[in-house]
Symmetry: C2
Subunit: 314 residues, 2 copies
Amino acid sequence: MHEFELINLIKEISLAHQNTSSSYVTKSIGDDAAVLKIPNDHELVVSTDTLVDGVHFDSKLSAFEIGHKSLAVNLSDIAAMGAQPVHVTLNLTLPSIDRDWVEAFLNGFIKLATKYDLELVGGDLTKGPLSITVTAAGIVQEGASVLRSGANPGDGIYLSGPIGEAAFILNNYDDLIDTSPLHLPEPHIDLGLALQAIASSMIDLSDGLSSDLNHILQSSQCGALIQATQLPLGKSLQSELSFTDAVNLALKGGDDYVLCFTVPEAKEQALNKLKLQFTDISKIGVITEDKQFLVELENETQVVKQQGYNHFNE
Amino acid sequence: MHEFELINLIKEISLAHQNTSSSYVTKSIGDDAAVLKIPNDHELVVSTDTLVDGVHFDSKLSAFEIGHKSLAVNLSDIAAMGAQPVHVTLNLTLPSIDRDWVEAFLNGFIKLATKYDLELVGGDLTKGPLSITVTAAGIVQEGASVLRSGANPGDGIYLSGPIGEAAFILNNYDDLIDTSPLHLPEPHIDLGLALQAIASSMIDLSDGLSSDLNHILQSSQCGALIQATQLPLGKSLQSELSFTDAVNLALKGGDDYVLCFTVPEAKEQALNKLKLQFTDISKIGVITEDKQFLVELENETQVVKQQGYNHFNE
């Protein structure tokens, strides 16, 4: 299969899912660069991730799942800014062109893109060790993006869904377990958009709560006190682990892609309305003035250690 | 070296070169995504390329040159749209963190970025086989981007500089040859911007004239007749090769990153003014109605074969 045939296959699969071209796209695949419309008085929000074979995924993931996940992790970042994703580029490095693999990959990728009216507008194809880079762009009203730096003492700390399940799956692969939380994470885009006017700060959980909430604390120059009993534990954590082990895994486990956000007291009523629609939202603690990151267990309060993932653990 | 230390090194090297933050950047490195300002009534132009060790570069290139080239090839695409580059993201996949290599790489990358007031606003660091993905974004007045599809019969065909030299270097590595045309290509950004109101179509030469001009012909639904004697041959082609060999290499050789563009007769006067500043511009032929791609040699007219580079030559 020739490189140009692969480009045509990508166009075909894109078009099969998307009836009309996005109103944000002037020129898509097929020129030196894509040309994209940004509505007046909006800002652009850009996130990029590289997924490498054997590091971010392995043979336990199907090509469809790899396609889905490579886009999902990016969209999760766009969601965490309170932005609306509008287009995406895809750089595929492949050892060779295996048409079945590429088709399944693209189906996973494009299905998720189509769900959010996101157009694939460009990219690059290269021969080499299997690796995928996705760059997603969203738009947001000028000044409306939700940064990590806006949390204030007294703000409640919330999660948009259960945590720890992805890490549990990674540690306990077997045929009986539902791998979808790890392999097919769903970016919380609609909630991210709804939180734009409510959250004071926001981040998505990719490295784990202890590491990611700490980014908010560092950027916002404050601390946190979270309640272990309030952590929304993944279902396997509840059924398979002791409470202490479950809390530890929930704190340090990554790959959950739920949103962690803070809400000022004055916005709590607006948040309560939102909870009717997004029923997985739960409060896990409060932002404090004292710059420590603490977790309240049954009998004691502990300092939360930073245990985030480091790619270069040397 | 820890991943976070490397991120700090990247920020340091960026800041050492750039005194003030770009007016196009609201939030740079350090959040879930970058937040970027697009002036009203402008469009966004996005290009992305992946460079893989052993495919796009090898040990003959220094880390500084790899840093320069990985950005230059992208900026060349932005230039070919007639756009002004404004920000860039960098995804680095490294087998391990070699501080000296990374510093030299970043110096090459950031030096070129700074030359064009381009800010590095985000990216990703991953462990894996050495590979680099750069995504550059530019801005252009709404509707003003120069596409491949605008050429018309009668338009002159032009090149912005000599061709074939990069391919000659690749075929003739030795210590005496100046490798800078291959290792340190200079994107023709200022010329691309100046051509915005003059060129009817434009592309940058990455795969070679025969392949890249053919993209214009396909998109514009027309043909071309070029004059072999008018081709601006690289200096080694002139001194080392027979005329026939030189023309062949100039037609099929890639990696030159000069601009190939077409200009309607009505704009020739404006182009002549531009030539006073950009003295390397030369006319190589004319766009024809007949959809053939022909080259006029001394005694005969030949059809130009498509010889562009295919990554997956299987």
